[in-house]
């Protein structure tokens, strides 16, 4: 399940840590595995990461379940995580979440029937000055979201 390219990327991460500390690369390895498995971590991916890093499977599973940007169930092609924490909420975070729910016709932790979009509620992303803020597929931060910008974003993602 882990491609040769993914293993190469993981090797680069392992090299950052002292000899004998491969386990330190587990967060990156899970991230890399998730990126090439449609945005989530099937059990086999966790097992492969464990084997590759010579860790007990349960230790990798613990990490995968502890950090909330890892997904243990399938998600849509585009995962959108909206921050609704207090600083964002004061500048429209909740309104943005409502707008997305209405546009996509789904609630939090749901995926559109065509499998394109999953909506999540997120905790503080450390970008409160850019409120309302959302993340696309964990890595792309979108700042100062308005209904117009959301329309543009969704249209652009729709075609991808």
């Amino acid at each position: 399940m882990l491609s040769a390219e993914a293993k190469q990327k993981i090797d680069r991460e392992i090299a950052k840590y002292p000899a004998g500390q491969k386990q330190s690369a587990v967060m990156s390895a899970l991230r890399i595995a998730q990126e090439e498995n449609a945005g989530w971590l099937p059990k086999e991916a966790i097992s492969e990461v464990a084997a590759y890093l010579e860790m007990p499977e349960v230790a990798v599973y613990e990490v995968a379940t502890f950090y909330n940007m890892y997904e243990l169930k399938p998600v849509g092609r585009h995962k959108i995580t909206v921050c609704t924490n207090l600083p964002c909420a004061l500048s429209g975070g909740v309104h943005v979440a409502e707008y997305l729910q209405q546009k996509l016709g789904i609630g939090f932790n749901e995926t559109t029937p065509d499998g394109k979009f999953t909506l999540k509620e997120g905790e503080c992303m450390g970008a409160c000055g850019d409120a309302p803020v959302l993340l696309h597929n964990n890595h792309k931060m979108c700042s100062w979201m308005t209904p117009e910008k959301i329309d543009r974003l969704l249209a652009e993602l729709e075609s991808k």
Binding site: K16, A25, S28, G92, C124, M125, C128
Partner: protein
């Protein structure tokens, strides 16, 4: 006005983060000075102590003193930078990593010289992944220029530095949870003692400082500890980056002299949005007790003034709330956050944070009971001081702060089974707002 950019001076947004730009701003001159002058670690630490730089992550511990705890002698020692910025309201380290990542690299390298650290990691909040990638690029630039890695600037001093990303766990901002996380485990805080200076990353001596703390180091070395201290006020040295969010016209990061009056910061941020009335301010990140308008307007922004007012400077994250805010609803959201982010290790925090949320939630939803305010105090009191790390206290302190200053609003909720601030007013006040300057 006391706008005094140091770390963010002349940084030119996204166009000025690369090594060439940093060098043009005088970057790496402090490191060159230290290496060429063979400044002794003792003298370097003395300079840091003279600056009275206090940890910018929230706890405010004196940096020079922290460095002095590292054992002398040879052997593996580590340096970690805490860029796991996830305390609601805080977004200053993100700007440092965006606009001036080399200041962090230079600061860490100088700290390695002072503490004897051989290897370092910058732990970067997973949600700002793009800046993790940028930091990796900056590291490569520094290595290519001989400013990092083996035999720095041709000397016999070596220091390896790498980036490590988080992936969505607020608790990893706690320094020992951060170490666990780098070791590839769940980020559950360690019991202290032993302290990281004796037993840290991989069981070796380790110093952990915040991003802004490290980024301040080159400026302190260049201008001298005393001059840096003089920028602020006694016991509260230097400049500070304030993240200001919520109901202001121009939210963002402002770098000011420590001790600047809150009123000036508010004015710099364009004042309260829509000309509405200021109701309350959380001055130091969501864990800091909230202060009502009449108290915060008399405060200066530094450790001592905010502590005397019953709150704290924390990370310098200022959350501004105007008269349209329902204080119960505001606390409900914060309590949910701590409940969600409790790592589950200590019973008082794991269970107590859930109780706090559920009680505030039922008050907000018209199902509050007469005894609930006392119950909230009791649950908060039974968390505080009874957990391995400060997350438990961080869940309890906002509850106590909100009850201390806005008890009548909570009581009104319970009695009338609804909000004191009409719902349409709340909704209008929390509309999507994007500053014209964005």
């Amino acid at each position: 006005m006391s706008l005094r950019p140091l770390i963010l001076a002349n940084t030119n947004g996204d166009a000025g983060w690369r090594l060439e730009h940093y060098l043009a701003r005088g970057g790496y001159s402090a490191l060159k000075k230290v290496i060429a002058g063979k400044v002794s670690p003792e003298d370097l630490i003395a300079e840091m102590k003279a600056s009275v730089l206090r940890g910018r992550g929230g706890a405010g511990f004196p940096t020079g003193l922290k460095w002095s705890f590292m054992p002398k002698g040879e052997g593996e020692k580590y340096l970690c930078c805490n860029s796991d910025e996830g305390e609601p309201g805080t977004f200053k380290d993100r700007d440092i990593l965006r606009y001036n990542p080399h200041a962090v690299i230079e600061g860490m390298t100088i700290a390695a010289w002072a503490t004897g650290a051989t290897r370092g990691y910058n732990y970067i909040h997973g949600e700002i992944f793009e800046l993790y990638e940028r930091f990796e690029e900056a590291l490569q630039e520094a290595r290519n220029a001989g400013l990092l890695g083996a035999r720095i600037l041709g000397s016999d001093f070596s220091f390896e530095l790498f980036a490590h990303h988080g992936y969505g766990a607020y608790v990893c901002g706690e320094e020992t949870a951060l170490l666990e996380s780098i070791e590839g485990k769940k980020g559950q805080p360690r019991f202290k003692p032993p302290f990281p200076a004796n037993c840290g990353l991989y069981g070796k001596p380790t110093t952990i400082n915040n991003t802004e703390t490290f980024a301040s180091v080159p400026f302190i070395i260049n201008m001298g500890g005393q001059a840096y201290l003089d920028l602020g006020k006694p016991n509260n040295g230097g400049t500070k980056l304030f993240s200001i969010s919520g109901h202001v016209n121009r939210p963002g990061v402002y770098e000011l002299e420590m001790g600047t009056p809150f009123a000036e910061l508010l004015e710099l941020a364009g004042g309260v949005r829509g000309g509405r009335k200021l109701k309350a301010v959380i001055p130091g990140g969501s864990s800091a007790p909230v202060l009502p308008a009449e108290i915060i307007m008399d405060c200066t922004m530094d450790y001592d003034s905010l502590s005397a007012a019953g709150s704290m400077l924390g990370s310098g994250a200022v959350i501004v709330m105007d008269e349209t805010v329902c204080m119960v609803k505001a606390l409900e959201r914060l309590s949910y956050f701590y409940h969600e982010e409790s790592c589950g290790q200590c019973t008082p925090c794991r269970e107590g944070s859930g109780w706090l949320y559920r009680i505030v939630h039922r008050i907000e939803n018209g199902q509050g009971r007469e005894e609930d305010l006392e119950l909230l105090e009791s649950v908060a009191g039974n968390i505080m001081g009874r957990t391995v790390c400060a997350l438990g206290d961080a869940a309890a302190m906002p509850v106590r702060g909100f009850l201390k200053h806005f008890q009548s609003e909570f009581a009104w909720h319970i009695e009338h089974k609804g909000c004191l601030v009409p719902l349409d007013v709340q909704r209008a006040g929390s509309q999507i707002y994007v500053s014209p300057s964005c």
